[in-house]
Homo-oligomer: 312 residues x 2
Amino acid sequence: MNKLVIVGTVAFDAIETPFGKTDKILGGAATYIGLSASNFNVDAVAVSVVGGDLPQEYLTLLEDRGISISGIEIIKEGKTFFWSGKYHNDMNSRDTLVTELNVLEHFNPVVPENYKDAEIVMLGNLHPLVQQGVLDQMTRKPKLAILDTMNFWMDIALNDLLNVIKNVDVITINDEEARQLTGEYSLVVAAQKIHEIGPKYVVIKKGEHGALLFHNEQVFYAPALPLKEVFDPTGAGDTFAGGFAGYLSKTGDLSFENMKNAVIYGSTLASFCVEKFGTERMISLKNSEIHKRLQQFKALTQFEITLTETLN
Amino acid sequence: MNKLVIVGTVAFDAIETPFGKTDKILGGAATYIGLSASNFNVDAVAVSVVGGDLPQEYLTLLEDRGISISGIEIIKEGKTFFWSGKYHNDMNSRDTLVTELNVLEHFNPVVPENYKDAEIVMLGNLHPLVQQGVLDQMTRKPKLAILDTMNFWMDIALNDLLNVIKNVDVITINDEEARQLTGEYSLVVAAQKIHEIGPKYVVIKKGEHGALLFHNEQVFYAPALPLKEVFDPTGAGDTFAGGFAGYLSKTGDLSFENMKNAVIYGSTLASFCVEKFGTERMISLKNSEIHKRLQQFKALTQFEITLTETLN
């Protein structure tokens, strides 16, 4: 087992989808990553900042699942980061209605002493300088630093982003963001260009179309499970990243072959996340359900071709 | 080995993509299906109609690959079907510039006597009444009738299309067309609705995102091979269908498990088709190249997860 540091937001989200809308509910990258990784019983800490308005039970939720909250600063007089968004009918795009940074505006992440030697660091979507600030606190170079980001930082802090990307081993990014970052339409060429920036592993998330894992000339593809309905996509990408990081932390095997499994676990967990609003489905999730869905992934993708005699 | 009847256009295409443009070159659904199926050394006939302007060498091309052209009517004084299109920069959409039906306008397909008992019929994209006309000529019900179609027929001949869809076992259709046909956004729900119309097997083609095979509650996913560049998507769907039908004809095994392999072969062959303009790549294709690419598909999708001990 490798120790895992999870950095990201713990937030209030208000979400509207074609299926309904929520009041302020628990959200944030660190929340989804932590809930997802907790399925692997990892030794992990969440590093974040919240205001005094965040119900204590939200933090207890993580703690009860074995994710240490010793890295979550509580600013009593502050307000928790708030995001509100509305998804379009196809669920593949959304409008941001409200973004209130609040305590996030001056977030100085502090990695607890006993996690400064963690082998794996999962940098959730945040300002790239904050992500770099976490890496700088590690007393030894992590075996695996994983970075998630989004187009917003490419627009307003590209140089800072490129600097931190240089220092990580894995980047998770969606297809449009990979194209924006590299100026290349082909995801194969985009992944090559990102390799050149630094990361040895590039995960390109394609939403309902699955995810691609690139490592030099090698490529692996994990489909998204075809679902009857996607209820709320919020947190799916973070849940994917949490499953990926959690599985690698648990197994401690950072080979490309094992990273394939990590991608499959990430996709599996993300397929649950979208079934209900917010974190609801992840909180109720049972191991037996994960096992069953992994079997569905196998049935979905595994085949047996014998090459003999078939071709002329 | 099962006998295979291939119905579709043999055409002139003029294609423009961001990589260049062609004069009138060989195209058409039956051409691509036939070239693709011929890799399995099938006992097949192409049923089509062409004008006197089609170079004899285009028909010889199919014949040399073991596809009988005894079902291709040549109307000496007529002109061959001509299609011209221009692809947009993302290659996922295109504009039709010219459609000249010519001899296709009054096409009465005639299945040669010695193929009227064929076990497998591949109905390429054509007017649904023409597709039904071929089924009506079969002296015994085929073991497997496969139908490909497009949104055009949904717009102008929906009832005829629904009637022929009722009579086939497999439909291949792209994602947008599946949504149009059923009014359902979710491809899982769309496939269920198409099952209810008739076909026991539903293949939904998602272009660069691969293809889904549905059979009642079962689902299988074949990714498209991530490519550095797609040179010309023309014929990729027909090449997929030809590989699918050809593999099933060769093996004679129409089980769902074997149909998974057929989908993989279809995707593999389609991945070659798009590498050059028109039929160029399919004509030069070697078995050794297909074998090598199948290995790439395996590496792309196959994984080994041991479920023990990983979850908490």
